[in-house]
Symmetry: C2
């Protein structure tokens, strides 16, 4: 085994946002040296890594030259230069997840075709190179409204996805390659995180459930374990494993899926990295997702993915009416509640709906945790001074 | 409430060792700015803090000038200049724990007298200003062998303590003020961590038990909860609370105690900071000791001290036959075991018995954890290249 601990080994991380920051808690715990590349000079990762470089993640030379300083390269965001990763791999620098895997995932049209090819259940779809072609297909009845529009590239945090309910909705769509996906009646939106290492060892985390706001179409709580039938949970985990193996994925793969009204599991999309739906694991799991990602990409044994306690995650997003230096109003109130842990990502300025942090609520009794989570959501506010 | 989170508030930490390093995980989680002072340029805290300064913790001017850069000052080691802390307090810079509290604890003779004064149960003792006076007291029968010798100052990790079993043992004692303590037959060595904030809110962690090696007199496992009678545990926690209140302590106070054969609780000594006996809390508790220390000194609400699961801690100390660049032999073996988390402190070089890290083993079933802990202890070795 390579000696990673308090050694000269260097892990390169592309992206220095909150996911990278939480990954660094684990590299510090193992005393693994890290290099971080991020476009912002105020990146949350700027301290806690051994070396920080400011630069463009999509620039070939920047990523290549950065990667050459590392022994293994990983990323905390999909928007990185894949050609540079390929070059690094050709030079014998391991990049996990691999450039090939990332390439299939970066483009949603390619991703959807991949599922079709591998017989992985996903909602029916058509791919269009231009908006014009999509509109034509609608005119001659090949695509029926309502449907789900997905931009092939550039989507993040639910951006680049919109449900087209009426003809007028088409006017707001941007130009470019896109996917038109059949709108399917759902029971639940679920997610499963799969960890896989180069030796092929694979473990899945319990199925989590996204609970949406009753009226606004926005995830309010990520709940682990999902309050679903054991058979459905088993099917979800098996399907997620199938996806991870199909991609020959190494590292963490967050698999987002739909539970249909007739209890089928359809893959929505994947993220090849630690994921918002796994943040609960820091407090609730025997091995949190960030430690697991490090274990996986370094080909270390994978840790136990079971939960110690029930966990619920609430995102802390900037209040829609506030912009400027952030204040976490009533954070002391929520810290009075049992099993509540706030995570502050370290962004000085808040903006409407900007992801500023998250709060985890754990309890041996998941229903209790759910009630506390609601109190948390109704107490804390992310505002400006 | 002061706005600590992603604000200009600065916490100064005296000492940059592993305790400070683990404290920094929590200040990062809350995005609280930190300044660290440590004599070593290779201190584990050097990265992850916002500002690092190399300097002597016992030097008045160094500590004073460092402290003036902070809004609140704390420490992760007792060996700091108390007069500088007093000056900082007089200038309105909060130091927690307070200079007065630390002063009483730094000197074991003063500490023992304090317990006597406050009617806190502790083993009978005599204080001697010089070794000569101690020897005279033994000659004229005022002190009988066997007894426990404790140096008044400079003791750390059990150094500065020795059990005098025969006259020859006296020859090895160093010069200086000391405490001669009655040797008491014990059932167990226990510890309780108390958290207290400036508002007077107080919480205790469950009682932990030190399990010693059957033959060598060395702690092998710290076990939470202690496998003792509920009545004794209750008495231990109440006694620890009494000690914390007597010191008007703010922050974490680790209270080490003896359970006598007739189930009395006697205070051995205290540490006014996060403590080795609380490391298990990172994986096992709802609120780990480092987060709790931060909550306490910043007068935030204290977190739940209950455990999610049973926890056992094993120290990783340098093998007696190895010196030089460290290698953690078989660390991959222990990482295969469920509920096992290694913590590597980040010291490049190992030395015989040097504290290099620790391993936490958690399980809902404490007996299972105890068996795994033994496997861990028999597998991993801290050696040099």
């Amino acid at each position: 085994m390579v000696n990673y601990f308090s050694s000269d080994f260097k892990l390169g991380i592309l992206g220095g946002g909150q996911l990278g920051k939480m990954m660094l808690y684990e590299t510090r715990k193992y005393d693994i040296q890290t290099l971080v590349l991020d476009p912002s000079n105020e990146a949350p990762c700027k301290i806690s890594c051994n070396y920080f470089e400011q630069g463009d993640l999509m620039d070939y030379d920047t990523v290549l030259n950065f990667g050459r300083k590392a022994d293994v390269v990983t990323f905390e965001i999909e928007g990185v230069n894949v050609d540079a990763l390929k070059k690094l791999e050709s030079e014998g620098i391991k990049t996990y997840p691999s450039a090939n895997t990332l390439e299939k995932i970066q483009n949603k049209a390619v991703q959807k075709k991949f599922y079709e090819e591998k017989n992985i259940p996903t909602a029916d779809f058509e791919v269009f190179d231009t908006l014009k072609e999509l509109n034509q297909a609608i005119e001659n009845g090949k695509i029926e409204i309502p449907f789900v529009w997905k931009g092939a590239t550039g989507g993040y945090d639910g951006k680049g996805v919109s449900v087209i309910k009426k003809t007028e909705d088409l006017n707001s769509l941007p130009e470019g390659e896109c996917v038109a996906e059949k709108l399917i009646p759902l029971k639940n939106e679920l997610a499963v995180i799969v960890a896989r290492n180069p030796s092929g060892e694979m473990k899945t985390y319990p199925v989590v459930e996204m609970e949406f706001h009753p009226t606004v179409n926005q995830v309010e709580y990520v709940i682990c374990p999902a309050r679903i039938d054991e058979k459905v949970a088993e099917l979800a985990r098996k399907t997620a494993e199938k996806v991870s193996e199909a991609f020959e994925h190494v590292g963490l793969l967050a698999v987002e899926m739909f539970q249909t009204e007739d209890d089928r599991i359809l893959i929505n999309e994947v993220a090849p990295r630690p994921h918002n739906s796994g943040h609960y694991s820091i407090e609730a799991s025997y091995t949190n997702q960030f430690e697991q990602h490090i274990r996986a990409i370094l080909d270390l044994p994978l840790g136990n993915t079971d939960s110690k306690v029930g966990g619920i995650m609430v995102n802390l997003v900037g209040d829609k009416d506030h912009e400027g230096d952030v204040v976490y109003k009533n954070i002391d109130e929520i810290m009075k509640m049992d099993g509540v842990t706030p995570h502050i990502y370290g962004k000085k300025a808040t903006r409407p709906f900007r992801k500023m942090g998250h709060v985890t609520i754990v309890d041996k009794d998941l229903d209790k945790a759910r009630k506390v989570a609601e109190k948390v959501k109704n107490s804390i506010k992310v505002i400006s001074k």
